[in-house]
Point group: C2
Chain length 408, copies 2
Amino acid sequence: MRKINPVDFTLATRGTSREINRQIALTLIRTHQPVSRADLARLMETNRANVTLLINELLQEGLVREGAQASQKVRGRKPTFLYINSQKSVAVAIDVRASRTFLMITDAMGKQVGDIVSFPTKFDPQEFVTELGIQVRKALLDKVGSAECDDIGLVIPGMLDRKTGFVLHAPTLRWRNVNLLEPLSKEFKGTDIHLENSGKACALSQIWSTRGDGLVLTDIVYVSVSDGVGVGVVMNGELVRGKHNTAGEFGHVPLSIDGPQCSCGANGCWEAYISNPATLSRYFGRDIAARQPQSVDVAEFTIEDLIARARSNDSKALTALHSTARYLGLGLASIINSVDPSQIYIGGELTEGWDLIEAEVRAAIKERALTKDLGEVPIRIVPAIEHPRLRGAVALVTARTFAAPKVA
Amino acid sequence: MRKINPVDFTLATRGTSREINRQIALTLIRTHQPVSRADLARLMETNRANVTLLINELLQEGLVREGAQASQKVRGRKPTFLYINSQKSVAVAIDVRASRTFLMITDAMGKQVGDIVSFPTKFDPQEFVTELGIQVRKALLDKVGSAECDDIGLVIPGMLDRKTGFVLHAPTLRWRNVNLLEPLSKEFKGTDIHLENSGKACALSQIWSTRGDGLVLTDIVYVSVSDGVGVGVVMNGELVRGKHNTAGEFGHVPLSIDGPQCSCGANGCWEAYISNPATLSRYFGRDIAARQPQSVDVAEFTIEDLIARARSNDSKALTALHSTARYLGLGLASIINSVDPSQIYIGGELTEGWDLIEAEVRAAIKERALTKDLGEVPIRIVPAIEHPRLRGAVALVTARTFAAPKVA
DNA sequence: CATAATTTGTTAAAACCCCTAACAAAATAG
DNA sequence: CTATTTTGTTAGGGGTTTTAACAAATTATG
């Protein structure tokens, strides 16, 4: 039950029905492929005639392709299978982080092409874009034989204004009010560029992922625990961006307003309890607020090292992790009580020690969850190997081609 | 950019375009009335022919009526004005509270008919429904001359399952797992009954209200401070309900996990700092957790009394209010950081002393808001005289008739 | 005051789309 | 080989937007 916006609506025209059904057909081919026209007609609960017309249009546009005829055991004419034409376009997914920038080439379906490449992130925005241009073109030539691509999805760990393409604030990159879209558009002429905060993009990628095709969730939360804490929320099948595209900053909701100081200036933010630096500080007995600005090139003791020590019976390490686990759970309870999601996804280095902390996390959640149901929200760990942020960057692109048309 | 749900979508049929444009026309008549067909054609950026056809249908259904011809100063044929036919149906809005139950008769536009009546709330669900039936029919006979109504919108201060119509937990009513929909359906045969949590309904009513017709907000938060703290969130023009319809419980997000005990059992919930009992306890120096179960019929010292004392230079009262103001702002900051709304609405008895606390609230918000924009979110006070919960109950009904059709 | 100009609202026909029904194509069962 | 079944296409009916033309109604103007 959405309200129609009386100053920004979309009238239905002669082509609207076609547009809607076209996207539904695309969605169903994407989630059910390989699939025949007759199958689609059954899935869509319409007639084959309608499907034929829809598919002819999609074939002509090159969005869909026909495959080999299937052999089935029942009698009757063999169906011709349909697939999303993944050769239709080439996209580049880019994950910008403080240490390195990662990139990956994908086809129109968002399937990875070739391996992931990475390079050190340059902190000067202009230099960064120039370097990115070189690396992207090199990767494209390597993997698809042409330096051209149709779409770029880029995620950064920070807040940004999607209308202007400005990075408002990315603490770890030390970017503030940086116009990123303009130089990118100049560097990559003729390609559509989609920017998003990495936490939001990760949340997007989870509702757009096609694994476990039966399961369809429209209300989920993605929590990324790393140097900071990023959160993305999807409600009613749509990413929650808020008025300034800064929604989802649960990382700065306090556990205790008198708690340790956070990098944002306030006290007792969730992030100040559970970020990797917070956990490490707890282990070393340091004051979190007093920590030096991180030097990127110096190999430091990492959270992975801490987890390793905890596994080899370093009781101090395990205690530090358990503290983090408890605070993680208490903060998750706030998210759960306020958002009531169907599922929570957790990413970040911390998840490699999930078996050590799961019980603590769950106990803390139940301690504050308002109802039994809320206390039992399923939590799925997203391992680093799945490259969730790159998947998020991909989702920025795929969402465009498969999303529901704007109507009413 | 909403994802199409591949297991629950709505195909466009022959009538879909009409359905969409019909609702758009209704919405525009509602927000711009009185309005002519020619005006509508301009607003909708379509031709007058299309509007004529749409309106003819709406006239026949009785949803729209023609008014007098307007005299305008330009030359040309006089336009005939169109209006929403508010006599089309009768609705009853019901606000159930621990002390009393309020009800109001409205027309199809949601306009109040007659005055608001109230009666003591019976705590036994069956008795409550029986009493409600008597009162509603009496009010209907009084105000519209017939005991029949088309829709009932009912809000309660608690969590409920909208699918089954069960009240999961309404602390102040002492209802737990009460089947409310079934006895209501029996009592009011042939009328559509819409139940909702009062905080959510209040949020709904704010996006559906037509005052200040230019202003259209799609991301708002309603915070109700009373015996407890209720919050409703609207994102992307749609109410956020979550998986179990329990989303929005920001009242139980902690300010300090070691803070005072809350009625929910956890410690340091926002509600435990800013609810009316919390403020009163602070004034009397009582421990909040130790307070006796409230006896309803005993006239107690209320928050209004406290505000009155603060106005007459009772410094202790003012201090208590200022503390509440600060905690209110700190909690609002959490909501602002996580939701990034265009506007926040605050209702409840506390708002009668808003002039005394506004500065403190704003300062506390800015203290924790992540960006300058977020610190400056507009806040609008909803005075009790507007009867926000009854307005919310009305919105449950009006939203149905004017909402965008489900498509794709 | 007659006529031109302008605006509103309606009607007829064209274009587009879904939907039913019939049919051709292609495969299996008997 | 024939009947049966399934797939995919084509033709026509009905609903909807859209264009174009027109009647109705009012004001401006010479």
